[in-house]
C-alpha cells in the first residue's frame, strides 16, 4: 500500500519537473529587441 503512494508521489514529482523544464512555453518567442519599446 505504502509503495503505491510512494510511486505515485515520485511520478508526480517527475511529471512536475518535466512540465517545468521540458515542455516549451507556448507563449511569446525570445525577445531579442526591447519588447514593446522603441
Amino acid at each position: 500500500m505504502q509503495e503505491i503512494i510512494v510511486y505515485f508521489l515520485v511520478a508526480f514529482a517527475v511529471a512536475f519537473l518535466i512540465k517545468k523544464y521540458v515542455i516549451p512555453s507556448k507563449k511569446n518567442k525570445g525577445c531579442s529587441t526591447d519588447c514593446g519599446c522603441h
Binding site: Q2, E3, I5, V6, L9, V10, A13, V14, F16, L17, K20, Y21, P24, S25, K27, N28, K29, G30, C31, S32, T33, D34, C35, G36, C37, H38
Partner: protein
C-alpha cells in the same frame, strides 16, 4: 469574486505612493498571480467599496507614460488596450503625487483620452503645507472633467472618498477625452485615422499605430489600414513629440488656474540630504558602510531563527519516524519530503532580512541615489545602474534578484545582469562554505583581531562578486545583441519607510523564493531520494553482505546499520551515477562520494552538506556539524593513504561552488525571464566549465 465586482486598474508614476494606496484598499487580500502570456506578475486584491459593492483592484507597474520603455511598463499598455471584456478594467484609478502633479498629469491625460471612466487621486497631501502648495480642488475637477480626490494613503485619509468616487464613476458609461490633442497636430492625418474604426477612441487607434499593439478584437481589415499608417516612421516620431508638448501645454494651462506653490514655505530636505548622499566621495563611503551593516546584520540576526528551524525540522523528522509505520512512504516523508521542505524553509530568515533592508532603502528613496552613483561603473561592465539591486539581492537568492531586472529598459543590459547575478554568493552556498572552512581553515586570528575563517568567507564573497563583474565584462564585449541603452531615473523625495509597504514587499519577495524555488527543490528532493533509495541487485544485497561480515568486526547495532546504509547508497542509482563521473572529477581531487553530493546539489546547493552526511554514515537525523566534521576529517583517501578532505581538496571544492552552475530553480527562472532555452543553457555550461577549470587549477596548484 462575483460578476458585480468592479474591475479597477491602479495606475500612476513610480514614487507616488501607489503601493501604499493599494495596500490600504486591499490589505491582506492581495496576491500575486500571472498575466497570461507575459512574465510580469500581476498584483491583485479585493476591496470593499461599500456594504454592497466590491472591487477587484489590479496594481499595474508604475510608469510615467502609456508609451512603454521597459517590460514592466509595457504591461500598462497591454492591459489598457486589451478590450477583452474579461480583462479590461471598468474604472481606472490614477494616483498622482501632489508635488509632481504636472508630470503626473501627463499620464493622466493619456489615460483620459482612452475614454475609460477615470478617477484621479492626488496623494501625499499631508505634505502640501510643508511644500507651500495649495490647490483649487473644485476648479481642478471642472477643468479635468474628472472626480479628483485629495488623499494621504499613509495616513489613511481620503480612502473612503476614493471608494465612493469609484462607485460613482462606474455608473458613467463612457468618459470623454481630456486633451483631444491629436486634431491639433495634423487634422487630416488623424481624421483619417479615426475613420478606420468606430469601436475605438482616437487615442487608442493612435496607440495601436505607434506601439504596434493590436487588441484581439481588431479586424483584419482594420489592422491593415492601421499598419499603413506606420509607413512613415519619422512622421510618427514627430507627432508623438508634438503630442507630448501639446499635452503639457494643456496641463500647464489648467495648473496655472488651480495649483500654486509658495516657494518660500517649502523646506528643501531633499537638497540637503542629496548633497551628502550623492557626494563624489562620501556618497560611496556611505553606501559601502550601509552594505557592511546589512551583511553583518544578516549573519548576526539570521542565525537564531535558522537554528530554530533546523531543530524543529529535525524533531519533526524524528517524530514522523517514530510514530509512523515503518515503510517506504515513511522513508520518503522523513528523508525526502521533510528534509526537502526544511531545506527551503531554513533560508527564509536570511532572505527575508536582506529583502527587508533593500525594501527599506527603496522606500526611503535612497536606492535611486545608489543607482545614480553606480551607473557609470556598471556601464563599464555592460550593465545599468539599476543592476546593482539584483546583484545585491543575489546574495540572498538569485530568483527574486533576477525578477528585479524587469525595470531595466535595455535588453542587453538586462540580459547580462540576469546571466551574471547567479555568480554572487547566494545563501545556499553558505552551508557548503561553512563546513569546508571549518574543516580546512584553522580557527585562529591574524594581526591579532582578524578571524582567519571569517576572512576566507569574506574572500569567497568577494570572489563571487568579482566573477560576476568579470563575466559581465566579457559578455559586454562579446555579445552581439541589438539594444538601445537608455537611462532616465527619477530622484524621488526622501521619506520615512512605511512599515506596511515594507512588510508586504518582503512577504512578496520571500514568497517568490519559497514557492518559486521551493516547489522545484521539493520535487527534486523526492526524485533524488528515490534514486538514492533504489538500485540494482547490488543494492538489494547490501544488507546481506554487511551482515555476513559483521561478525569479523566488533560493531554495535548502530554502526552496523550505518554500514548498511553506506553500502546501499554506494550501489543505488545515484551511487552508480557518482561512480561513473568519478574519472572526470578525480583531477579536481574528488571521489565518487563527493561526486554524488555534487549531483544532488544541483537541486539546491545546500543539499551538498546533507548528502555528505548520509554518505559518511552519519545518523540521518543527526545534523550536528561536529559529527559530520569529524567524519569528514577522518575520511581517508585509499589511493594516497592520507586525508580525503585536505587543504587542496577543500579549497578546490569551495572554488567549485563559487563558480558552479546555477541551481535548477535559478535555471527555471532564467528560462522564464529570457523566454528561451538558449540563455539558461549557455549559463549552465559556461558556469560549469568555469567551475571545472577553476577547481582543477586550484587543486593541482595547491597539491
Amino acid at each position: 469574486m462575483s460578476k458585480n465586482d468592479i474591475k479597477v486598474a491602479l495606475i500612476g508614476n513610480p514614487n507616488t505612493g501607489k503601493t501604499s494606496l493599494f495596500n490600504q484598499l486591499t490589505g491582506l487580500s492581495q496576491k500575486v498571480g500571472n498575466y497570461p502570456g507575459v512574465t510580469v506578475d500581476k498584483k491583485e486584491g479585493t476591496s470593499k467599496l461599500s456594504a454592497t459593492q466590491n472591487a477587484i483592484i489590479t496594481d499595474l507597474p508604475g510608469t510615467y507614460s502609456i508609451n512603454p520603455t521597459s517590460i514592466d511598463e509595457s504591461i500598462v499598455l497591454k492591459t489598457l488596450l486589451k478590450k477583452n471584456i474579461k480583462e479590461s478594467p471598468d474604472v481606472i484609478l490614477v494616483v498622482a503625487d501632489v508635488e509632481n502633479l504636472k508630470r503626473n498629469l501627463l499620464l493622466f491625460s493619456q489615460i483620459k483620452d482612452l475614454e475609460i471612466p477615470t478617477v484621479l487621486a492626488i496623494n501625499m497631501v499631508d505634505q502640501m503645507h510643508r511644500k507651500g502648495i495649495s490647490i483649487d480642488l473644485s476648479l481642478l475637477k471642472k477643468e479635468l472633467n474628472t472626480e479628483v480626490i485629495l488623499i494621504s494613503a499613509r495616513k489613511n485619509e481620503g480612502i473612503k472618498e476614493v471608494k465612493e468616487a469609484i462607485i460613482r464613476c462606474h455608473l458613467v458609461a463612457k468618459a470623454s477625452p481630456l486633451c483631444g490633442v491629436n486634431h491639433k497636430i495634423d487634422p487630416e492625418y488623424f481624421n483619417t485615422l479615426k475613420e478606420i474604426s468606430p469601436n475605438y477612441s482616437l487615442y487608442e487607434l493612435w496607440l495601436m499605430v505607434t506601439q504596434n499593439n493590436f487588441p484581439g478584437t481588431v479586424t483584419k481589415l482594420e489592422k491593415e489600414k492601421l499598419l499603413a499608417f506606420k509607413q512613415d516612421v519619422s512622421k510618427l516620431k514627430k507627432y508623438q513629440h508634438k503630442e507630448t508638448i501639446y499635452r503639457y501645454q494643456e496641463i500647464n494651462k489648467i495648473l496655472k488656474k488651480t495649483y500654486i506653490v509658495d516657494k518660500t514655505k517649502a523646506t528643501d530636505l531633499r537638497g540637503k540630504l542629496d548633497k551628502i548622499f550623492t557626494h563624489k566621495i562620501f556618497g560611496y563611503v556611505i553606501f559601502s558602510l550601509i552594505l557592511l551593516i546589512i551583511f553583518q546584520s544578516i549573519f548576526d540576526l539570521a542565525s537564531v531563527p535558522m537554528d530554530f528551524i533546523d531543530a524543529t525540522f529535525a524533531q519533526l523528522s524524528d517524530f514522523a519516524k517514530s510514530n509512523l509505520p515503518d515503510g517506504v512512504l515513511t522513508d520518503l516523508l522523513t528523508e525526502g519530503i521533510i528534509s526537502g521542505v526544511g531545506g527551503v524553509i531554513i533560508f527564509i530568515p536570511q532572505i527575508a532580512i536582506l529583502f527587508l533592508f533593500i525594501a527599506i532603502l527603496e522606500e526611503t528613496g535612497y536606492m535611486s541615489r545608489v543607482v545614480f552613483l553606480m551607473d557609470k561603473i556598471m556601464r563599464r561592465f555592460g550593465m545599468n545602474g539599476k543592476s546593482i539591486i539584483p546583484l545585491i539581492s543575489g546574495t540572498a537568492c538569485a530568483i527574486p534578484a533576477i525578477m528585479a531586472t524587469r525595470t531595466i529598459a535595455s535588453w542587453k543590459e538586462r540580459l547580462i545582469t540576469i546571466l551574471v547575478t547567479p555568480f554572487t554568493t547566494c545563501s545556499a552556498r553558505l552551508p557548503v562554505y561553512a563546513i569546508l572552512i571549518a574543516l580546512i581553515i584553522p580557527d585562529k586570528k591574524i594581526l591579532g583581531f582578524l578571524n582567519l575563517q571569517g576572512l576566507v568567507l569574506l574572500s569567497l564573497y568577494a570572489l563571487g562578486f568579482a566573477s560576476a563583474i568579470l563575466a559581465a565584462y566579457i559578455l559586454h564585449k562579446t555579445l552581439k545583441v541589438e539594444s538601445k541603452s537608455f537611462f532616465v531615473v527619477e530622484m524621488p523625495n526622501y521619506k520615512l519607510p512605511s512599515i506596511k509597504n515594507v512588510f508586504f514587499d518582503v512577504v512578496e519577495k520571500t514568497k517568490a523564493f519559497v514557492f518559486g524555488a521551493g516547489k522545484i527543490i521539493l520535487a527534486l528532493s523526492i526524485v533524488l531520494w528515490f534514486l538514492a533509495s533504489n538500485g540494482g541487485a547490488a543494492y538489494e544485497n547490501a544488507e546481506k553482505v554487511i551482515l555476513e561480515n559483521v561478525d569479523n568486526q566488533n560493531l554495535n547495532e548502530q554502526e552496523v546499520q550505518q554500514k548498511i546504509a553506506s553500502l546501499k547508497l554506494e550501489n543505488s542509482f545515484i551511487g552508480i551515477l557518482g561512480k561513473s563521473i568519478e574519472p572526470v572529477i578525480r583531477p579536481l581531487g574528488y571521489d565518487w562520494k563527493i561526486g554524488i553530493a555534487l549531483i544532488t546539489s544541483f537541486a539546491a546547493r545546500e543539499v551538498f552538506v546533507g548528502t555528505l552526511a548520509t554518505i559518511y554514515s552519519v545518523e540521518a537525523d543527526d545534523e550536528d556539524t561536529t559529527t559530520i566534521k569529524q567524519k569528514m576529517a577522518s575520511e581517508m583517501n585509499p589511493d594516497t593513504g592520507k586525508k580525503r578532505f585536505n587543504f587542496p581538496v577543500g579549497m578546490s571544492l569551495m572554488v567549485f561552488y563559487a563558480f558552479a552552475m546555477q541551481c535548477m530553480a535559478t535555471f527555471a527562472i532564467v528560462k522564464r525571464e529570457t523566454k528561451t532555452w538558449k540563455w539558461p543553457l549557455i549559463q549552465l555550461f559556461g558556469m560549469a566549465l568555469l567551475a571545472y577549470v577553476a577547481s582543477f587549477l586550484t587543486y593541482q596548484i595547491l597539491s
